[in-house]
Symmetry: C2
Subunit: 714 residues, 2 copies
């Protein structure tokens, strides 16, 4: 009972928060604009490096409106980013008023804003009239007047609910958003060759600060995730070049000159652990430090167990996640610094077991979708389009946020229209010119021709997601349409790809003919999508997943799904060994964050190379952090079974550990679990939970009550 009350209070607080004033915008627009700031910060050896896919932008004219019914008159404060006008009951007010008196009764208030550079946003604060997500927005109000002055019928105008985040103060302009910073010092500095090598102790991200720059000449700053990279001035991936002159300093890459004070902090952020600084003879620098930049996040999830290596894996995974959780979930902090759909879906899943930060998930989903028209796959990659759909399914399951799905649904439709416009006569997808069929970075040949079983499996799940979301958005015609498409495709999967002789799904089919190749990808997704029956799932565990003759996976990216499939098949003990070997292997190589790719068979500086470049590999890559997800979902064993944890299951599994304990965040609060070989203790803040206890006779289901800790002996 006590806990139910807490939930109720929580819900009321939420509803009160919804009516508190906040800056609002056209949904998705701020997210897309902020994403452009993010994606365009990538540099390569001092050169600006924007994405190669279409960069969308905000609607430059947006109308905000609200129907009012006031018990008494009130005065409102109005602010906007952009040139704006204010209409009360259809009458334009003079200029750009910062206050307006509203009479009692029913009124309509419209504010229209134009802004080319940053998204049109508004902020209204009154006693009862405040901007929030209940305001309506449109980019074309179609409100014309005829010759007599009569206004048009705007019933066909498409209004959306406003977008917002947490800019609740009048002066907290959305376009001025920046992440938090704090100063950090190097843990060591060592004279090397012509300069000094600074070590910040672990992988980090931020802005280099130079203290007491004197003299005239060039300063070179070479960044490295490894000392080898920082010291290799010819091949390090990122660098900066400054020109010091008496009283001023110029960043030569962006040609920006500033006055020189005691301290100079660069305008460009970089990822590094090491920094190698060299100066022309005439220049001296007293000290080099940095401003660490981060998104403030609460670590709501946790994991501890008797195995210290595993604890360290969790910690480094959490830090990797934190470094890559920024304005958006990005892939890696050194090189790309872009938002990629395939990388992001894994970040979301890890996030549900670590920060439960829905806002960053939503921002990233908006950005990845961009605007109509759709002119390519997400990030140009076919599989990444499908992951985008799947990520909405996941988000809905974890958050229960139906509003977001409804808001996004029109862009899901046009994205799916694009996909359906590129299917072959079998209704399957094949790579067309300009499509990047990615699958994975593989140490071996991956055929990308014809119908890949992997792509069809993702496509099928995407169609099922469309059907679900159409239902949520109240579009029953679409629901039926996508259900039919999904079941038609699903019924074709086994006939097309299952090979009786190999007892596995083959990699692809070219012109109707199955190839000889079997890869892990489609087989493992078929497990957690339940696209194969239980027998076949157990079969492929042996014929594919645990078969060493099948092309090995060497990215943590696909390891994520491979290990998930094995966990889903009850292989927690072997997966535990794999985790310790693979992620433990990176730790033994000195990793302070997890990598883009790791091949245990490589040694030394080969670990640093990728893309044909000696330091091309990212040593802090979000997809490297999957133990966060695996430990939460398959060892602590918590997952929602109805959207938003309205119902959930806990199926804890020690997987060879002596004891473990941890917390999984949910929309109701947290679920805390302790398990050893004798008992399971659970404390949950809400939702209808079922605990599956392993017994000699199989699983036994017990009800979890929210509130006090419950102890289950087994």
């Amino acid at each position: 009972m006590k806990n139910r009350l807490a939930t109720l209070v929580g819900a009321l607080a939420l509803s009160a928060a919804a009516s508190a004033q906040t800056w609002i915008w056209y949904p998705g627009d701020y997210e897309i604009w902020l994403g452009n700031q993010m994606n365009n910060r990538r540099t390569e050896r001092g050169a600006f490096f924007p994405p190669f896919w279409k960069t969308d932008s905000h609607y430059v004219v947006v109308e905000f409106s609200k129907k009012l019914d006031l018990a008494e008159p009130e005065e409102i404060f109005i602010a906007a980013e952009g040139k704006y006008n204010v209409k009360l009951d259809g009458k334009l007010q003079f200029g750009m008023p910062s206050t307006l008196k509203l009479p009692a009764g029913k009124h309509s208030l419209n504010i229209k804003v134009w802004n080319q550079s940053t998204p049109p946003t508004i902020y209204v604060k009154g006693k009862t009239v405040n901007t929030d997500k209940t305001w309506k927005v449109t980019y074309e109000d179609k409100e014309w007047i005829d010759e007599s002055g009569k206004a048009s019928d705007t019933s066909a105008t498409v209004y959306m609910d406003a977008g917002c985040w947490n800019f609740d103060g009048a002066t907290q302009l959305p376009s001025k958003f920046s992440l938090a910073r704090k100063p950090m010092k190097a843990v060591s500095s060592t004279p090397r060759k012509e300069g000094v090598l600074y070590d910040f102790g672990k992988e980090t991200f931020g802005y280099i600060t130079l203290k007491e720059v004197k003299g005239k000449g060039t300063i070179h700053i070479y960044y490295g995730e490894s000392p080898e990279e920082a010291l290799d001035t010819e091949y390090c991936e990122t660098l900066d070049k400054l020109l010091a002159e008496p009283g001023q300093i110029t960043d030569l890459a962006i040609r920006n000159t500033r006055k020189l004070y005691d301290e100079y902090t660069l305008d460009n952020s970089k990822a590094f652990r090491y920094v190698y600084v060299t100066c022309d003879p005439g220049v001296t620098i007293q000290d080099v430090s940095m401003q660490y930049e981060y998104l403030p996040e609460e670590y709501r999830g946790s994991f501890k167990c008797n195995d210290e290596e595993l604890n360290r894996i969790w910690e480094v995974g959490a830090y990797t996640m934190h470094l890559t959780t920024r304005e958006f979930f990005i892939d890696g902090i050194k090189r790309d610094r872009w938002v990629w759909s395939g990388d992001a879906i894994q970040s979301y899943l890890m996030n549900y077991y670590l920060f439960f930060d829905n806002e960053t998930v939503k921002r990233t989903i908006w950005l990845l979708r961009g605007k109509d028209p759709v002119t390519s796959h997400s990030n140009t990659i076919m599989d990444y389009t499908f992951y985008w759909f799947l990520s909405i399914y996941d988000y809905y399951m974890y958050s229960g946020d139906k509003d977001f799905v409804t808001q996004l649904y029109p862009r899901m439709q046009s994205m799916m229209d694009y996909v359906l416009g590129r299917t072959n006569a079998n209704g399957m997808v094949e790579g067309m010119t300009g499509d990047w069929v990615f699958v994975d970075w593989a140490d071996g040949y991956l055929d990308k021709k014809g119908e890949l079983s992997f792509e069809q499996v993702l496509f099928c799940k995407s169609l099922e997601t469309m059907a679900l979301c159409a239902g949520l958005a109240g579009n029953t015609a679409d629901k039926t349409k996508y259900e039919k498409l999904a079941s038609a495709l699903r019924s074709k999967l086994e006939p097309a790809f299952w090979n009786e002789q190999k007892q596995a799904m083959v990699h692809n089919r070219v012109q109707g003919k199955q190839s000889e190749s079997v890869t892990r990808y489609a087989n493992m997704f078929s497990v957690f999508f339940n696209y194969l029956n239980a027998d076949k799932q157990q079969t492929i565990k042996h014929t594919v997943l645990q078969n060493d003759s099948i092309l090995k996976i060497t990215t943590p990216y696909m390891r994520f799904y491979e290990l998930e499939a094995l966990c889903a098949l009850g292989e927690q003990e072997s997966v535990m060994k794999e985790m310790k070997a693979y992620w433990g292997g990176m730790l033994k190589e000195g990793a302070t964050s997890f990598w883009e790719k790791y091949n245990p068979e490589e040694t030394g500086t080969r670990h640093l190379a990728m893309y044909g470049r000696p330091y091309g590999k990212s040593l802090c890559h979000a997809w490297g952090a999957s133990p966060i997800y695996l430990l939460g979902k398959y060892y602590l064993g918590v997952k929602p079974t109805k959207p938003g944890y309205e119902e959930y299951s806990v199926t804890p599994c020690l997987g060879g550990l002596k004891w473990m304990e941890g917390t999984v965040p949910t929309p109701y609060g947290n679920i805390h679990i302790y398990m050893d070989k004798k008992e399971i203790r659970i404390k949950s803040d809400g939702g209808k939970g079922v605990l599956n206890i392993p017994t000699r006779k199989g699983m036994k289901a017990m009800t979890i009550e929210p509130g006090e800790e419950q102890v289950f002996k087994y």
Copy 2:
């Protein structure tokens, strides 16, 4: 022969000009962005007033590229608007280089620019390597690399030819473009009520300048196209309000404070002839003048005759055109200041007989189309969408500019897809919710329901235009498709709308049933589109065009087409009388530019009212200037018969005048014509001309040779 050489030299000069350096951008993007600056300058009594249709914007990341083949090395100068990078043969250069050394031989040069606020543009100047319209541009190069560093196949990337205008100097930044200005003084100032009324002598446009503002208090500026409007402080359409303070002055509408010098010129331009200025008691102003703002244009067309009233009509028409020919062809300079498709098509046609300014035509066509996705008709108006298609047909006929049509064709396709997605079971268009079916401002009831004959006629011509342009763009499949659609619709027009009893096309058909109403619109368009046979054309002259019981046209907008139809039917004499009565009527009312609407039956200040507002009517409206077009095309009688005046006809007609002479500009130069009752004299700079001489036996065709003046007696 002499002239042929001149033409050849002209063509060479053109090709040389094409390789001279100029700022370039993604085609249409600068135009759309500049259009936003234009459309968002409208104000209503001090309130900002943006359009109600979707405001598109530029692609924020654009890649420019050029394949080079250099005989010797050269150094190029590079400038860009935005953050940019430079790649030579795929290798990124450090920073944002302003010079680059290119080695001899074959190379590829790529420059990628990001700019949120203004369109990404670049400028490259070298000995042989210069930015021009031969550069390729794309908003998504889809150039990714695989794990080994190998670049992707970009063969599916859509490259366009670069857009450009006349920004040929390195410091002539496209985003800084502004029209020309010159100072003008009022012709009189008269103390009235609490202030002073300034008269600038004629309709004008620009920025008010205040001289020697002293003291502290508010200054009100009320603008009027009439003295009544300027003096009516409660109802004048535009006004400004300033706050003078010691040493500074604040524009209260835009809340911009500036230092106060001897002269203060407002930031907002306005249209007016009269300005009424009042000040708070503590404020004094020594003088009020203005900065006239205009697009420098050469008056290449001319017209003179024995009738001074007609000469004055031509002059006031030309001035009306000049005032409304700005960054774009706009409707009227006082109120809307927006770009409207139905208004613009008439401006284009007048322009071909006055300035022959292709650049402003192209800019306006780009802006009106905007970007995909299409979410409404052009300016939300169904007929305006069709005029947009028709205007491309006209532009191609007058200019012969196939490149522009090819460049624009993809956006023509998506616009027509939008229209075809809104047809009924008969393949005809009907107004759907959110569509504005405009036709005309009429002094009487115009039914907008069901299938309007007028809209189908425009739709049919639009489909014919699509077929033509598909052919020009080399898309034969589309050509066939649109030809079929056009002929299918055309064959339905007479069965659907021709009424045997009324001997005319009826106004509309609702649920398959012809209405009783006959209006002029479809009937007159069927004349110059040749959609009715010659007999029926002559019939409707009597049953409709010259029938006073049919709803009269009271806008110069539809008068344009009405008089054109009559001229096409050989009624130049009666049209001459109409022109003198109608446009001469406005002159007699004191017009110094032509109006949005003129009903000769109204008197006094009723002429100023529209839209339910006492001064709602625009007294300088582009569509008011149609005599410019009629006199050039149907009296001087010049029109292209093959695109770009490769072939043309001259069918001069005095229409009751004693003599006339004038010039019609063409891509080859000019065609000068003199005609009196005995002879016709013609001098043409190029193209294959046919002169149609009226004789007692009908028309006699003579060949016009370019070069020296030819004299034809008749």
